[in-house]
Symmetry: C2
């Protein structure tokens, strides 16, 4: 069957219970109650501190077939996933599902656990590095589920991702299970992506290398939801948090795109008091923020909030009075961590608050503008951020589809050519974010506006912006680099791309390996 | 049938689904999942601000037979309960259950709503004033359910108190439903008792008289759980928050009891670094705190935290460095409100975090000592804080039974004679808190220790405290005032006293009226 954006979705997929094809960004209407974790009791004299992961595994007990969840705030510096899975392997456990909000190169040991049958399922919002490559080559017998950050929150809240045991890498904990990410030797800042796990898992285990006095505060995850606290040598390396560039690009093409993107935002008329903004940690996104900042300063605009993963650049804008608040689901650098721990206007929010589509209103809904990237975009404005030019998985939606759905104006910034391949194609290899939620593409050779947004096109033309039809931009790229060859993939489905509402927006097929 | 403390509990009670008799303070072991509210969706462009309560009632819609919940942080200054019920009456609704965490004299209009059939059920943790008196005289056709603060959290979490619509009196809100109690003209401080309502109700309505800019922060109740925001003239009068005395008693008998209680605490050996303490807002409780404070100062003891309803006296101890943290479920005066809004070591906690027995560990479990009152105590140390000497309801457990169950040492402070009646009786009229959770009774004529706590008795004797058998204290009182006459009650059950774990610890029968 074909879904609402014309992607071929099989009627059945091994390991996926019910296939609901994507039907439009705001079409799915839930009729259900939320998931609810087990009710448990603890006596006043009971203690939660246990000596080792092995002991925790035995106390719960963790058994074959369970789903263990993890968060990714340590990014490539994470130490807890490997530690927990090594324990599972040591105890001879099999058939576990790993629900890890994002997978990084550091998580390569997962590959061996899959080969040994310890892990048989993976549920994540983003993956890069050896695991992603191995998945693309058919590592798992059943497809990996790729969600969005908000969709993962929704899946947990609604019981589609039922977590048996959540392992929280906690930079700071007290012995009764109050946790935060702003204290301790491995402070990582916000623990937002772990909030739904902590709220809905049947068992919650805090893994920490820093025990503070009771009651630890601020309390990011409360004692009422934490069953065990395990002290280990080291939960992670905060240096690994800063992955990729978090500096403004110096590339002249990147700067040109950023400047154009800022002018696009200005032309929308949204840069005024109360402006609400999200941008990524990449160089071009930050450069856009820098141009927007100049506009705000020039016109004495005070923005309402910046949202998402937070960088030092956003912290500086907060501290300079350009935004009144930051809402932080993940810290990207040490400045973000420092600010969260000291500035009451820097708010820690959970993945559900950030972006879950099935609650009484998530933060992305309040965004004016979001700046996002793409590895490919098609002429219907559908975006791919999952697979690269070779068809191999090298990312994932993260908050991409969430912010795009919520913001008044969603802007993709991208070089017209990525490597030597055009960014605009007839049909993206993998659709991640539906075109109806993408408003503008900004490249160094022009700006394409989604036909759904005639209002914006008029404004951009009036502002003298280089508006071009997306077909025209595509031809421009193809004139330089030629039409890209179709990527050859096999039949085997290695991953299912779930839209934030739980419908299937696309599948990823195996590449030759 | 008789429950574990020998109270006669009927096999069936009209309006109560399943009668589980009290079986011991830590006996009930839940085997269930938590309650889960409806999953709802809101589109990015949807707005939550509505013009009037009538409009909210129609949008939800509120229908006959629903349970509407409210919190009591405005105490006798609350404006929202009456406003909402007047709307219900105006719209001709019938058969509503009011789940209001505590009922005060200001809530007298409930009586007419019951007479008119608008309200037919009441679920609360405490009541005083006209409604309490009317309940005692048989106002309702079915019994009122009296819970504890922690038990109410548990009942909501576990679905025994299923809330259709929670109305949150919010001193400050933004248009998207982020709420706090520390801003606005009617700031009341902590909104802790409303946290479970907001988390588990199918619909949540914020009623506010102060709209701040988005995103309002601190966020006590998040936008993700709030469906509608209604702006009204006035949500309440913060002057009504200070009900009863929150000053240290000047009565010499009260001071003597307080001094003895402080010596009792000292003799337990618990006044040392890390000391964790809860005391009420009454004059004798505060006087005890003042004596304890002197001991802490003398020995340079730094306590861990003070818990519960928070007074300016506790704020002063925090600010003087005598406690490291305050955990605040309810503010008792303006100092508590100021401190919560400015001091990061003054933490706002929900009723569930405070005292729910069926989660992974509530704060009362971490208490060293709690000081509580009593209207009566029997020779088995069972305490009554529900009915007065005339059998009329004049209070309720609130956090009484919760803190008693959690703390290492629970101390009742009471005059040996209350009015002209002995405080110690053979059998309390209404058992609220089981004797197994009460350790010490301190009166002006001596200290009685629960036989279960031989360890404490030895320490008190070694400290030269006036330890007496409870029978001896009882006889002493009776020598002065004579044995009290039994209170005559009718057969009709007007209230069921639920222990924090959901079992029935006693019933309240109708008085002649």
């Amino acid at each position: 069957m074909k879904n609402a954006i014309g992607r071929e979705i099989p009627e059945t997929i091994s390991g996926i219970a019910a296939i609901k094809p994507f039907a439009g960004a705001f079409t799915a209407v839930p009729e259900m109650a939320r998931q609810a974790p087990k009710v448990k009791i603890i006596k006043p004299t009971d203690r939660k501190l246990v000596d080792s992961l092995v002991e925790v595994f035995k106390k719960i007990p963790v058994t074959d077939g369970m789903t263990l969840s993890f968060h990714h705030h340590f990014r490539n510096g994470d130490g807890v996933v490997n530690m927990v899975l090594a324990t599972a392997a040591q105890l001879g456990l099999k058939n576990l599902t790993v629900a890890l909000s994002s997978v990084f190169p550091v998580h390569a040991p997962i590959i061996d656990h899959v080969k040994n049958g310890v892990v048989t399922g993976l549920d994540t919002n983003y993956m890069s590095g050896p695991v992603a490559q191995a998945v693309s080559k058919g590592l798992f017998d059943k497809p990996v589920i790729l969600r969005t950050h908000g969709g993962r929150g929704r899946a947990i809240e609604c019981g589609q991702l039922k977590i048996d045991v959540a392992f929280i890498a906690a930079p700071a904990a007290d012995e009764y299970g109050n946790l935060n990410g702003v204290e301790g030797p491995a402070a990582c800042g916000s623990l937002g992506y772990a909030f739904p796990d902590a709220q809905y898992a049947d068992y919650v285990v805090a893994v920490t290398d820093y025990l503070g006095e009771y009651p630890l505060s601020p309390i990011s995850i409360p004692q009422t939801r934490v069953d065990y606290v395990v002290k280990v040598e080291c939960v992670g390396d905060p240096k690994g948090i800063v992955s990729g560039t978090t500096r403004i690009t110096k590339d002249p093409v990147g700067l040109k795109i950023a400047e154009t993107a800022a002018k696009v935002i200005q032309a929308t008329g949204l840069i005024k008091n109360g402006f609400a903004f999200q941008t990524g940690a990449g160089g071009a996104s930050l450069a856009t923020a820098a141009f927007v900042r100049k506009m705000m300063e020039k016109d004495s605009v005070v923005g309402s909030f910046a949202l998402g993963g937070i960088t030092g650049y956003m912290v500086d804008m907060l501290e300079s009075g350009l935004f009144k608040k930051l809402m932080d689901v993940q810290g990207f650098d040490l400045e973000a961590i420092r600010s969260l721990s000291t500035n009451p206007n820097h708010l820690e929010i959970g993945a559900d608050f950030y972006a879950s589509p099935f609650n009484a209103g998530c933060a992305v809904n309040q965004l004016d503008v979001v700046i996002l990237g793409a590895t490919e975009m098609d002429t219907d404005f559908n975006v791919n951020v999952v697979t690269g030019s070779d068809g191999v998985i090298m990312g994932g939606s993260g908050g991409h589809a969430d912010a795009a759905a919520g913001a008044k104006v969603t802007i993709i910034v991208a070089n017209l050519l990525r490597g030597r391949l055009p960014i605009i194609v007839n049909k993206v290899l993998t659709a991640t974010t539906p075109g109806e939620t993408i408003d503008v593409l900004v490249t160094e050779r022009g700006v394409a506006v989604n036909p759904l947004r005639g209002d914006l096109k008029e404004k951009f033309l009036a502002a003298g912006l280089p508006v071009k039809d997306i077909q025209e931009l595509k031809q421009l790229a193809e004139k330089i680099a030629g039409a890209p060859k179709a990527i050859k993939t096999g039949e085997n489905i290695v991953a299912v791309v779930e839209y934030r509402d739980g419908t299937i927006i696309d599948v990823v097929r195996q590449v030759e390996g």
